[in-house]
């Protein structure tokens, strides 16, 4: 990945980030829209979780990774500490792979 690609990605990302804080003064966001933005955030993040857990390239990522993420889901719903959630996910996936599950 060339440096130029990283710089373009960084500049574009920063542009997305800075638009809200700079436009705030001239733009009032109604309550309804703010609630919609909150819901939209949750939708995007869950979609990112689902695709990164299940998909590799254009196909299925195999069983080991989604199994690890499923363990993370159970722990997260039970309000386990964040580091425990991450370590349990990686450990489950690693253990399954060690047993020969892709």
């Amino acid at each position: 990945m060339p440096l130029l690609a990283i710089l373009v990605l960084a500049a574009g990302t920063y542009a997305f980030r800075v638009a809200g804080p700079l436009a705030r003064d001239r733009l009032h966001i109604p309550d309804g829209l703010e609630r919609l933005l909150t819901a939209a955030t949750a939708v995007l993040l869950i979609a990112l979780v689902a695709t990164s857990a299940l998909i590799e390239g254009h196909g299925f990522a195999g069983w080991a990774r989604p199994a690890g993420v499923a363990v993370a889901a159970v722990l997260a719903v039970r309000r386990a500490a964040f580091p425990l959630v991450v370590v349990a996910a990686a450990a489950t996936t690693a253990a399954l792979r060690a047993c020969g599950v892709a």
Partner: protein
């Protein structure tokens, strides 16, 4: 900085520390996966400092490691980061100071900082949560990516350690509290199903944006009920 500590309650500080630890594991995974995949160490390190968005970094890395071009990697990262436009508006009330502060704070707009800011109604507490989480995570994330990149060559096979499961896991832990609201939950689960179903047919990055169509489902259900 001291006033930030005073305004943040202990529970929030503890949670932020735990998220930092979790993200440090994810950041180390990112550095290790990139270097083990054959990229020079400066690629994951400069990406982490300049782009500073875990989701886009992992997505762009996946495109590059699976043989895609730099243009596809940039496009994927940008599509994924377009959500930061929404986040920027959602936290813009805490970035209301001098222009320089706003420009600096904007770089810290991300999933975790938004999640912590959203927990509070009071403006001073929102501001404290945003800056504390933002600064702490920026430091932890970048240090851990450097350490991961250094360890990457020694580790070799990062999949054997299950490191690829670390990123979705931490994202899930962050978003679970928002799913207690039934309408958000319906929208999120529908959106996720749509994104996964669309993945074989669309270029990387787009399926996640398509998930937003899930937002209309709770409205449709309410009308037919």
């Amino acid at each position: 900085m001291r006033s930030l500590w005073r305004t943040s309650d202990r529970g929030t500080l503890r949670d932020i520390a735990l998220v930092c630890l979790a993200d440090a594991l994810v950041g180390a995974s990112f550095g290790a996966i990139a270097v083990a995949g054959g990229l020079p160490a400066w690629v994951p390190i400069s990406m982490s400092v300049l782009v500073f968005a875990g989701g886009a970094q992992f997505a762009a890395l996946a495109v590059v490691l699976s043989g895609g071009g730099a243009l596809a990697a940039v496009a994927t990262g940008l599509v994924l980061n377009s959500r930061l436009l929404l986040f920027g508006f959602a936290v813009s009330d805490v970035l209301d100071g001098r222009r320089r502060t706003r420009l600096l704070g904007a770089h810290l707009v991300m999933d975790e900082a938004l999640a912590f800011t959203m927990r509070h109604q009071d403006r001073a507490r929102r501001r404290a949560a945003f800056w504390t989480c933002g600064i702490a995570l920026f430091a932890c994330w970048n240090i851990s990516v450097v350490l991961g990149a250094m360890a990457g060559e020694a580790i070799g096979d990062t999949d054997a350690l299950g490191l690829d499961a670390a990123f979705p896991a931490v994202l899930l832990a962050l978003v679970v509290p928002a799913l207690r609201d039934p309408r958000t939950r319906t929208a999120a689960l529908t959106g996720a199903a749509i994104a996964v179903a669309a993945t074989p047919f669309l270029p990387p990055g787009l399926p996640v944006l398509l998930a937003l169509t899930g937002l209309v489902v709770p409205h449709l259900l309410r009308k037919t009920a």
